[in-house]
Symmetry: C2
Subunit: 131 residues, 2 copies
DNA sequence: ATTTCAATTTAGAATAAGTATAAATCTATT
DNA sequence: AATAGATTTATACTTATTCTAAATTGAAAT
């Protein structure tokens, strides 16, 4: 049931996402593939990203920008975006369970999870701004 | 400095968003304008939504769907989306201050705010499912 | 080894949401 | 009435992504 078929192109896409320090968009992945000497159809890159997402090897992130980003960390975590430079960092601190419970009570929903995008100014931009 | 110029079309768009029970997309707003006998250019609806957003009369929501939604409630609140029927409801339970502080510590960011989209199954879909 | 068939890749067309542009229309002020 | 700035309109364009149909690949069966 969980057969994973990593073709050359899927493997290459996966490698890009896995070794990325940031959270690359599909376009970022495309560029990095070219840098590494590949040239795949862009439909293939999108197909691969979706395949890898479906197989839970990567996660698709919608951070409120126009393009999705991709993340090889599939453990539960959230993100923080710098309003100044756009960099995206991990947020590992979990939102308190009590908050989720309260939201369930308030709304009558059965709560499954939450996507959180924190906004702020990163350390680097903070120090740059102090002059 | 805070002059607000509500033209006929801006007023009409604002009325749609203000009286909406849901959180309409630009396309929803378009359709409802037509229902009320208006016929504005596509661009005008987008311009109006942006104008109203800039003047803080409404808020633009990016809930991870392809299209933005609009909200006449401008006070601080979050949203919950039903995974089954797609309905969007308000979450008024505030995010714990302690969590924000902890995120700031963890990431080194100066935290300005957070956008949360909770996911789950609404009361209606929950009861429908029990048969 | 050759055939076969499903899965995959490819190039390019199509779609969806939103933005940009330039001409036409409004509106407030002289 | 004349002018000028703001706004609206129709339409072209952009960006991100999906769809399509033909070509290619590769494993399994002969
Ligand atoms: Mn991440
Ligand atoms: Mn709301
Ligand atoms: Zn920054
Ligand atoms: Zn529902």
């Amino acid at each position: 049931m969980k057969t994973i078929n990593l073709t050359t192109q899927r493997q290459a896409v996966y490698d890009i996402v896995r070794t990325a320090e940031d959270h690359p968009t599909a376009a970022d992945v495309m560029n990095r593939l070219v840098e590494r000497g590949h040239s795949f159809a862009y439909g293939t890159v999108y197909n691969s990203l979706r395949y890898l997402t479906d197989k839970d090897l990567i996660r698709e992130l919608k951070l409120g920008e126009t393009a999705s980003r991709y993340d090889a960390r599939t453990d539960d975590h959230q993100h923080i975006v710098c309003e100044v430079c756009g960099r995206v960092d991990e947020v590992m601190t979990a939102i308190p369970e009590s908050w989720m419970t309260q939201v369930a009570e308030e709304t009558g929903y059965e709560v499954a999870g939450a996507h959180i995008v924190v906004e702020g100014v990163c350390a680097e931009c903070k120090s740059k701004r102090k002059k």
